[in-house]
């Protein structure tokens, strides 16, 4: 009971201590958007022939005529009340747009991370068990390939091979075939929703849609995960307690898994958290290539259109997710490693 209380106190403290960072991010993004060239009023005016009066009216309605500090104060007040403004391109409140698109991005990122871990961990372990061997070099080659190939190239390659040449994958546009019925919106994650409703056919359709973009992203983050696993496994395998485990005659598998891997996973956990946050923000190219209706592509469109509100909302969202992911990693770390004190 006391540990639970300690954990929740720690969580609370962490959340409170991350508030200044989030505030800083919000203010910085706000200022950055104002500094960037491009006048949204001009952009959203009815056309190139719009008169000065029309632009001025638009500017006033958008609050752009007020001094920047006042604009910032108003924006902060809005953020505090949960109002992230309205997107000029979609005409919807940013919160609504984000809420609709975030599950798509999250689902893609989770799937990609899952695939990446599923591949990277065994690769890293095998490479660490036989350093300098052929397997080790092969793993290094795969990782290098994954990291040096831009995601849009590997994405297009995958589409070319699996959709165009082999025809195994469905039309790589969106989360689901336009002719299929969407599941009821329960969690927003199609794979989960289909599974809940027991719609196997729909689940398979969604799965085949997500597999290519997820693999593209997984390929990109394979390297940090596999290399980290290898390095951390190598250092753990060389440590004194592995020698102890061998000296009392523990079976090889037990030495590798219970003694070495469990210790080696601790740094991998930290890296996985960072990788997750990076993926979520950086998957804009993948979303573009696969027409994935996620938050990243939405934000890119808004940025191009000098549409302030969605970009600011996106940055805020990412900052929030980053804080959250780090918190989760911290808690998991505390559970996995008894040396990390709860307090």
């Amino acid at each position: 009971m006391t540990t639970l209380g300690a954990i929740s106190r720690r969580i609370l403290r962490r959340l409170v201590s991350s508030l200044p960072a989030i505030l800083g991010v919000v203010v910085l993004t706000f200022l950055l958007m104002r500094v960037l060239p491009g006048d949204p009023a001009v952009f959203f005016a009815s056309g190139p022939s719009a008169g000065q009066q029309e632009i001025e009216d638009l500017r006033r309605s958008m609050g752009l005529d007020k001094p920047i500090p006042v604009q910032l104060a108003l924006y902060l007040r809005d953020v505090a009340t949960g109002n992230l403004g309205k997107s000029m391109t979609t005409g919807q409140p940013v919160v609504t747009d984000m809420a609709r698109r975030l599950p798509a991005s999250l689902e893609l990122t989770f799937t990609a991370l899952f695939i990446a871990l599923l591949v990277a961990l065994p690769l890293g372990i095998v490479a660490a068990l036989r350093p300098g061997s052929l397997v080790d070099h092969a793993v290094r080659f795969i990782c290098t390939l994954g990291v040096c190939m831009p995601t849009f190239v590997s994405g297009l390659l995958l589409i070319y091979v699996f959709y165009y040449l082999l025809g195994w994958a469905p039309d790589p546009t969106g989360r689901i075939d336009i002719f299929s019925a969407s599941p009821p919106d329960i969690t927003g994650f199609l794979l989960v929703d289909f599974a809940i409703t027991g719609d196997l056919q729909g689940w398979w359709a969604a799965f085949t849609q997500i597999i290519l973009p997820a693999c593209t992203m997984a390929l990109f983050v394979l390297a940090p995960l596999a290399r980290m696993t290898r390095a951390s496994m190598l250092s753990v395998l060389g440590s004194d307690f592995i020698r102890t485990a061998r000296s009392v005659g523990l079976p090889g598998s037990r030495v590798t898994v219970t003694y070495a891997l469990r210790n080696a996973l601790l740094p991998v956990l930290t890296i996985a958290g960072i990788v997750f946050s990076t993926m979520l923000g950086a998957n804009v190219l993948v979303e573009k290539v696969f027409s994935w209706p996620g938050v990243a592509s939405y934000t890119l469109d808004a940025l191009v259109a000098s549409d302030y509100a969605p970009v600011q909302g996106f940055v805020l969202l990412m900052a929030g997710i980053f804080v959250l992911v780090n918190l989760i990693v911290d808690i998991l770390y505390g559970i996995a490693d008894p040396r990390v004190s709860i307090e």
């Binding site: 060389g238 440590s239 004194d240 307690f241 020698r243 102890t244 485990a245 061998r246 000296s247 009392v248 005659g249 523990l250 079976p251 090889g252 037990r254 219970t258 003694y259 469990r262 210790n263 601790l266 996995a336 490693d337 008894p338 040396r339």
Partner: protein, 556 residues
């Protein structure tokens, strides 16, 4: 008696970047059932390599290139890797140095002991746990039921070593190899751990090979001794006979260099000379004793350091060191001796009390500003670990020149070069080594760089924090002898922090015994050791392995 282990002409080679290096050149020894054998020698002598070869735990680079290891009649060197598992733990097991690192940090000790049991016995988890509990009782762990679920970081070093012993004896092997089992533990802990090991091996009829650099430990706990040097056995025999009448010059040197209750710095000087140490010429004439009535160089008054723990790290400590005097601080880990030395060096801030150096109170200067105080030059420190206390990217010259550059503002040039070379020469560091980096120097050479760095500024107080703890005895003898000369020549005062009571007795005029941050006893080195007043000091003294070989005849 039946023979348990026989090693015949064992050769081990390590493949390194520089090619193959032979670590053992034909080692032969034998061990009977229930026998205790001490394997002594300095670092690089091959004693640990021998042990790892017996258990086939040599790391990837090491290879047995020749010879046989007959264990209960079977040649261990020819057992295939997959059959070794049945041997390890069940027939022979090991105890390692640095017990905390030798245990899995994220697995409870009870599970680890149970793992060791279940590796060889077909028991349920519950049965293994019950056995683990019995083992914890056997290694005298207090409150064993709760300790089963403890993690290594929650236990003291001595307790971790007992857990390690419990794991090693879990499946009742015939042979136990203890590789420096008490290095890094306090003397009193060392005594309890070694007594426990001796009792357990005797009770269960196990043979033990004790690998140690401490001749006293080997003499006290082993029936026979094997002395190794550079991968060869130079001498072996029954303990008492071997130490009272050593035949090989290396054994003689080793014995001469080992501090005993009677040895003096002069003995060490002789040992140092025998080892071929060429001492630099005396740079200054010994200074006369200070006039009576001059204030002490350092005075510590009611010093307190409180980290907020239930007990204070340093609790109301007072003592003084006269000019050119030497004071030893002894105590076990947690006694506050390192905290105290850091407070005096002004590396950390006090909670209360004062430090008075040469009549000026320096305790009030914040630690982060002390580098600007004029006293910084006068108080220098020699750190414990010569490996970690040197910047790996600095050559020996740069390391020694660093304080001269930052505190005296010397620029590169003839003056700096002369000062560095002088300091190096006085520390016995050959000038041609000055261009080398720490990884290209031996442990003793690194210790000399650390000393040269500290004396380059000609400080008036030198704080020595276990300066020889990481060194071999023969190197230690040389370094201690060197430090003693430096003190006499320069009239430097010493604050000597050590857990080795014999060393402190030799080096220091006065000794302060600390326990839990408090002064337990203070007195002149001689009287305190001859006639300790407090029970704690008596306990400390009694825990030192008693090593008192007959006086070694001086070579003609």
């Amino acid at each position: 008696m039946t023979e348990l282990l026989r090693i015949e002409d064992l050769r081990v080679a390590f493949s390194t970047r520089a090619g193959t290096v032979d670590a053992l050149h034909g080692v032969s020894l034998s061990l009977e059932k229930g026998q205790t054998l001490g394997l002594v020698g300095e670092s690089g002598s091959g004693k640990s390599v021998t042990a790892y070869a017996i258990t086939r735990l040599l790391d990837r680079a090491g290879k047995i290139t020749g010879g046989r290891i007959l264990f209960r009649g079977t040649d261990v060197t020819r057992v295939p890797e997959r059959d070794l598992r049945a041997l390890r733990g069940a027939a022979m097991s090991m105890i390692f140095q640095n017990p905390r690192a030798a245990l899995n940090p994220i697995r409870s000790v009870g599970d680890q002991i149970a793992d060791a049991i279940r590796a060889h016995r077909d028991l349920s988890k519950k049965e293994a746990r019950a056995q683990a509990l019995d083992l914890l009782k056997a290694v005298l762990i207090r409150d064993p039921e709760t300790r089963l679920d403890a993690y290594p970081h929650e236990l003291s070093g001595g307790m971790c070593q007992r857990i390690m012993i419990a794991m090693a004896i879990a499946c009742e092997p015939d042979l136990l190899i203890a590789d420096e089992p008490t290095t890094g533990l306090d003397v009193t802990t060392q005594k309890t751990v070694m007594d426990l090991l001796a009792r357990i091996t005797a009770d269960r009829g196990m043979a033990m090979v004790l690998i140690t650099h401490d001749l006293g430990l080997a003499a006290q706990y082993c029936r026979d001794i094997v002395v190794m040097e550079r991968g060869r056995i130079v001498e072996s025999g029954e303990t008492r006979a071997l130490f009272s009448d050593p035949q090989h010059p290396y054994t003689r040197r080793l014995i001469a260099a080992s501090p005993t209750p009677r040895s003096t710095v002069e003995d060490l000087a002789r040992a140092a000379q025998e080892a071929g140490e060429v001492l630099p010429p005396i740079a200054a004439t010994p200074r006369p004793a200070p006039e009576p009535g001059t204030p002490p160089l350092l005075e510590v008054r009611n010093l307190i350091k409180d980290y907020g723990a239930p007990t204070r790290a340093v609790d109301d400590v007072s003592f003084s060191i006269p000019r050119g005097g030497s004071l030893g601080l002894v105590g076990e880990s947690g006694s506050g001796k390192s905290t105290l030395s850091r407070l005096i060096c002004r590396l950390i801030d006090k909670t209360d009390g004062d430090v008075i150096f040469d009549g000026e109170a320096i305790g009030g200067i914040p630690a982060r500003d002390f580098h600007r105080a004029p006293q910084r030059r006068d108080i220098q420190i020699v750190f414990q670990d010569p490996n970690d206390s040197l910047n790996p990217r600095f050559s020996a010259f740069d390391s020694i020149a660093h304080p001269l550059r930052t505190l005296e503002g010397l620029r590169d040039g003839a003056t700096l070069k002369a000062r560095v070379e002088e300091a190096a020469q006085r520390s016995g560091l050959p000038p041609e080594l000055l261009t080398r980096f720490p990884h290209q120097l031996s442990g003793g050479q690194k210790a000399r760089v650390g000393i040269a760095r500290a004396i380059a500024l000609r400080p008036r107080l030198l704080v020595l924090d276990e300066p020889t703890a990481a060194l071999d005895v023969s190197v230690q003898a040389i370094i201690l002898n060197l430090l003693d000369r430096l003190r006499r020549e320069d009239g430097m005062a010493f604050l000597f922090v050590s857990h080795d009571l014999n060393v402190v007795r030799m080096m220091c005029e006065r000794v302060v015994v600390l326990r839990l941050g408090k002064v337990v006893e203070e007195g002149s080195g001689h009287s305190l050791f001859a006639n300790p007043q407090s029970a704690y000091t008596r306990e400390l003294l009694a825990a030192i392995p008693h090593f008192d070989p007959a006086p070694v005849p001086v070579q003609a």
